[in-house]
């Protein structure tokens, strides 16, 4: 899932200054699971902003769509838009951009900081798991991703800063390569670490420019 956290209210207040009718739009996808950008948070945000901007006579309302990252699901916002001069989106950066693209003449303001692709590891605690490098190597690394979880994205094992299972950057951060080592040991596959892993093809990652994916069979005839 995509994890996002709410921007501080003061920052949002500064971003929406100058608009007088603002619609806060939540998203029913990942950020509802994170409890940072769903219906409940959209309602609370509308309330908070309403209080913060009371003296400026700003009116606020809120709503939530099933997912902001699909054009069809944004249809339902259309009839309401005439009565607002800005949208505050509590979706991830994908949702915010989908709204912007779907409503070409409405200003859209992001209410969340999209932080990473990850999962809840305990109630209320989320951790990064994947960086969408475009060429998955989890089979070699015992199902633990060094690209996203090693602070240096190393590919040939732990660096010299790994100690007591922790990463050199902080005692709070687990060394991903230590975890990989332990799991490979349990699986009897430590030999994976003896092999030289050659430089990765980062062109399949973001470094190659914005990516797109075509799913054969889903593209309507005559396109692509």
């Amino acid at each position: 899932m995509i994890v996002g956290e709410l921007k501080p209210v003061e920052e949002i207040v500064a971003k929406v200054k100058g608009y007088s009718r603002i619609l806060v739009v939540g998203c029913g996808g990942c950020v509802t699971v994170c409890q940072t950008g769903g219906a409940r948070e959209a309602e609370t945000m509308a309330h908070l902003l309403g209080m913060a901007l009371r003296d400026l006579h700003v009116s606020l309302d809120w709503t939530c769509v099933a997912r902001q990252c699909e054009f069809e699901l944004l249809e339902e916002l259309k009839p309401r838009l005439a009565s607002f001069d800005a949208i505050l989106s509590l979706a991830c950066g994908v949702g915010v951009q989908a709204v912007a693209e779907f409503f070409p003449s409405s200003p859209v303001i992001p209410g969340l900081n999209t932080t990473f692709m990850g999962m809840p590891v305990r109630h209320g605690r989320f951790e990064e798991r994947c960086q969408a490098c475009g060429d998955c190597i989890l089979d070699l690394t015992a199902g633990i991703c060094p690209v996203a979880r090693c602070s240096k994205s190393l590919l040939n094992g732990p660096c010299g800063g790994s100690q007591n299972g922790k990463c050199e950057i902080s005692a709070e951060v687990e060394c991903a390569w230590h975890l990989i080592y332990e799991r490979l040991e349990r699986l009897g596959r430590l030999d994976n670490l003896e092999r030289l892993v050659l430089p990765k093809n980062w062109a399949k990652s973001r470094d190659g420019g914005p990516r797109r994916m075509v799913r054969e069979g889903l593209v309507p005839d005559g396109e692509e």
Binding site: K152, P158, E182, L196
Partner: protein
């Protein structure tokens, strides 16, 4: 004959001495010259660090050239933190074009340690891939992409290894990987916990790695007891034996005791099978190196013939 004096000394079987020279946080070449003149003759080659601990300093290649002009042989450290494969390969060519015969490849400290923690990091390659890249450029005359070059960089390739990091058994595996990738000499993290280092070297010798690359043990004089305790508790990847801290705590003359400790360590290290030299890291205390080398009985340094 090898172009690198360090390589020739190791080939001759002499116990090698290298020392670290940290470039300044400015463009003051005179500072580098001064350090170089202080150390001239007390080591066979001088490691120029590459923005160590992620603090911006004069580039290691530039500082290396200044040392070379003073007649010292540099070992250019190259980390993977700040340059991608295009810049790294370009700098390998540059180092060789300037006649510097040694390159030491390392991963590099994370930028969060330094004075620009908001920097974007690179790590396009890791240290092992960098070693492999330099070796392929030198021995096969090819870049990572496979294209060929006309003149190959003739460099002696070094790496580092940290016997005090975890998982401990992997440290020897990692060294083996580096040697297989092309490393010819190894400088270890500074040895401040002799027992662990002995065990590491036993494993290195069991696998015959000491015959495939020259291991130089890192040593570091520690200027104060507080610094020793700090490194013991707070520096990732370091181990400092309690008795070193205690000796410094009890000493009347701390600096004298620091030198005594290093000289004793060097004597012990020379007894450990498989060790072919030492690498002195007297960070911000370079002026002490001559005394350490003299008292360790490693002065004068052997003279090697130059073609």
């Amino acid at each position: 004959m090898a172009r690198s004096k360090l390589e020739r000394i190791l080939q001759s079987g002499s116990f090698a001495v290298t020392a670290e020279v940290g470039p300044p946080k400015s463009c003051n070449a005179a500072f580098v010259r001064k350090k170089g003149n202080l150390l001239r003759g007390y080591a066979d080659a001088f490691n120029v660090t590459d923005n160590q601990t992620a603090i911006v300093r004069m580039s290691s290649i530039a500082a290396g050239i200044v040392l070379q002009q003073e007649g010292l042989e540099p070992v250019i450290q190259m980390t993977c933190r700040d340059r991608n494969r295009i810049a790294l390969q370009s700098d390998v060519l540059g180092v060789a074009a300037l006649g510097i015969p040694n390159i030491l490849c390392l991963t590099g400290d994370h930028q969060s340690f330094g004075n620009h923690p908001e920097a974007k990091n690179v790590f396009d390659l890791d240290s092992i891939q960098l070693i492999h890249t330099v070796r392929t450029m030198r021995d096969e005359g090819r870049f990572i992409c496979g294209e060929e070059m006309k003149v190959r960089p003739d460099v002696f390739i070094g790496c580092v290894e940290n016997p005090f990091a975890d998982p401990f058994p992997f440290r020897v595996t990692r060294l083996k990987k580096k040697i297989e990738a092309g490393a010819q000499f190894v400088q270890t993290q500074c040895v401040l916990e002799m027992e662990r280092f002995r065990r590491f070297m036993e494993m290195v010798c069991e696998q015959g790695l000491h015959e495939r690359a020259a291991v130089l043990a890192g040593v570091m004089p520690i200027k104060s007891a507080r610094m020793a305790r700090y490194m013991q508790k707070n520096v990732a990847g370091m181990m400092v034996a309690d008795d070193i801290c205690e000796r410094l705590e009890k000493a009347q003359d701390v600096q004298e005791e620091a030198i005594n400790i290093v000289v004793e360590q060097i004597a012990q290290i020379r007894e450990i099978p498989g060790v072919r030299g030492i690498h002195i890291m007297a960070v911000a205390w370079e002026e002490v190196v001559p005394e350490i080398v003299r008292r360790a009985g490693l002065y004068p340094r052997p003279v090697t013939e130059i073609e």
